[in-house]
Symmetry: C2
Subunit: 417 residues, 2 copies
């Protein structure tokens, strides 16, 4: 039976990519390793007691409903509450605009399922979230990349790319981007949205982190800007944006509850797709999220997450200033969970990871965040998961690895002179 299954896989399996992150999570599970690799929230801020209380309340008050099959679009009261909350700043979001998914990763998979034909071009930032590349690749997506800097996607060349390459979709993380930690400026957001409208290209706005801002001013979402710019008087949003939101970063990823906001026509197709894919997201989990959102707990809880992550970011940045060689550069995120390191040209982050693991510290090499490949000297650090003490120690270890590598490179360089 050795090659039995290999001979039977569908074509799309050849397009699947394994996630370096997920494989690394396994490698770095040993407690002696200080891992900045996985994009894991801090367990310290999980509201265990509140989830427990909400679970108890839901089961005692509506247990038969929490344990039964429910509608594919999601738990009705949760759809309504999300719509009401999203409409606060004047957006015409109704429950027909909302679709519950089992994490935002599933939202990405469903977008691929519905909208991507083999060979379709998807425009992404470089670097971008590798999970999006993984989700869309099996549907045959090909990528066109736009470089980003500390103000997010560089939009100056965007119009030319849209006009000549005609991508079917654009995928953007405007706030505290995963992996780079950068935030797209207001001016660039406007430019992006104007071009999306002019060229009629939908934008997937992936927005898991916007509530985790530590400093600076909140910027309007692409959804808000697009709705203003189109200037219609719709009762129900029908624009070009598909916004992905999640409870994973403000409550807990282990619940697997997220939501999309999109045009109702698209939501209806998504619901139909979900019937065949997994029927529905777990009823109990949706009802727990609903309870904790409805009574205002999540809103009261977010400041604690912000304070915790801000402290960890500061500890990491300070330790990096202290321990890293001067030739290494990094981003200074205003929120979220990640920062991004650029090593000198010619250094290879994947090779450095092997050295780092010997020193019991881990990160994610940047290569798999670059859709078009070829970039070897970048890497991502997550500052959300480890405690400040372990961040200090881990960055010191990483500093030793980097100094050694830089010294080796200098030696090699001078040998070659």
């Amino acid at each position: 039976m050795q090659n039995f299954w290999d001979q039977r896989y569908a074509q799309r399996v050849k397009l699947m990519k394994s996630s370096a992150i997920r494989d690394l999570l396994k490698l770095t599970e040993q407690p002696e390793i200080i891992s900045f690799a996985g994009g894991l929230p801090a367990p310290d801020v999980f509201p265990i007691e509140q989830v427990d209380a909400a679970s108890h309340k839901v089961l005692q008050e509506r247990g038969a409903q929490a344990l039964q099959y429910g509608p594919s679009e999601g738990y009705g009261p949760l759809l309504e509450l999300i719509a009401r909350t999203a409409s606060r700043d004047g957006l015409p979001i109704t429950p027909e605009n909302v679709f519950i998914t089992s994490g935002s990763q599933q939202g990405l998979d469903f977008i691929g399922r519905l909208l991507v034909n083999p060979g379709d071009l998807v425009l992404v930032e470089s670097p971008t979230y590798m999970g999006a590349l993984q989700a869309l690749a099996p549907y045959g997506a090909e990528y066109v990349t736009i470089p980003s800097d500390e103000h997010g996607m560089i939009t100056s060349s965007l119009e030319e790319v849209l006009a000549t390459r005609k991508p079917k979709l654009m995928y953007v993380l405007p706030n505290f981007q995963n992996p780079a930690g950068v935030t797209m400026s207001l001016e660039r957001r406007r430019q992006l949205v104007e071009l999306a409208i002019r060229y009629e290209i939908p934008i997937i706005e992936d927005d898991p982190y916007s509530q985790l801002r530590f400093e600076g001013e909140h910027l309007p979402s692409l959804l808000t800007l697009e709705n203003e710019l189109r200037g219609t008087e719709e009762d129900t949003y029908r624009g070009y944006i598909i916004q992905l939101n999640t409870f994973s970063k403000v409550l807990a990823p282990g619940l697997r509850v997220a939501w999309m906001i999109a045009a109702p026509e698209l939501v209806r197709k998504l619901v139909q797709s979900k019937q065949g894919a997994d029927l529905q997201t777990a009823s109990l989990n949706q009802m727990i999220a609903y309870e904790l959102m409805r009574d205002g707990f999540i809103e009261r809880h977010i400041p604690l997450i912000r304070r915790t992550y801000r402290e960890r970011r500061d500890v990491m940045l300070n330790a990096m200033d202290e321990h890293f060689p001067a030739c290494i550069h990094w981003t200074r995120p205003e929120g979220g969970m990640f920062l991004w390191i650029t090593l000198p040209e010619g250094m290879n982050a994947t090779e450095l990871l092997r050295e780092a693991v010997k020193e019991n510290v881990a990160f994610v090499p940047g290569a798999s965040f670059h859709a078009e490949g070829g970039v070897q000297n970048t890497l991502r650090l997550s500052f959300s998961n480890a405690t400040p003490e372990r961040i200090r120690e881990g960055i010191a270890r990483l500093g030793r690895v980097f100094h050694k590598a830089v010294a080796a490179q200098t030696t090699t360089a001078s040998t070659h002179v």
Copy 2:
């Protein structure tokens, strides 16, 4: 924006089917309707207190783990417990054979994703579970059907079909089949498995109901038979069967926890596929299922489900004997949740449903369970969800609808003579 999305859907969207069941669930949600339509477990037997206690235990003892991201293959201790349980009767099932899905529906979707190319033939029973047709259709599956009778799939013509049509996969529900309620005889199981081995065609053994047997003898699974027949001395199962199992029918569907047993090569690809599709099934839910399986609760709980469903089946069968016209035939299932009605030739179950809803009773017309279509005079009743009183009343209402339709048909027939 009217046709905006319509013009952008991927080819596979055209292949998607909406589920009559799910749409009907909406129609028949009003309390005055007695619905035999949805395949819903009885809420009366949901172990609300035990789920509540397990949730509390898991959150108090391992809360940070229950709320955090976890491995894509599933919660380790659950994989081990499932493997140990499945190995009881000598099968070489290891944790590497087990893969956790968000319901068995997701298992079907993943099988389509990994194994079905557009145009691939999948052999199914007629009738078969419409959710399987829905799951595989978007991947381009085409169907070849084998009729079934009260002993399940009729295997006499199977070899010829395998030799000439060469299906890529077979999909079978051997126990208390959804929708027909019939169980495949031991002889036919043997024949099916022998042919699968001879022609090297994988079988998806969908087995959600095998523990819900009210009477008669438990029959060995296709997995067990196949493992015997191949007669290898493997440490880890590597055969042709992909078995789908679920907690939905023995615990609660609202948790969305199910599992597959398959060759480890296939499981590894499934895990990779899950990374892109939704990362993982909810950690909390897997840990709740683990607690309730580990301490023996599920095993102690199953007899109550069996007693409850057996009583409801008996009430339904007795009421049908009393109220249905003699020209209508139905199956007498030994377990599970469904029975299957065949109306006289020329009657149309979809038209009858409209009349039934006027009488405040509902069922699922059989047409969408027939992959090749064309059958209009069948329908499915679920006996699991309604109380005995409502079953009696609902069947009496349905009897009136059927008597009227039969009388009208007789009149039409005699008019035409």
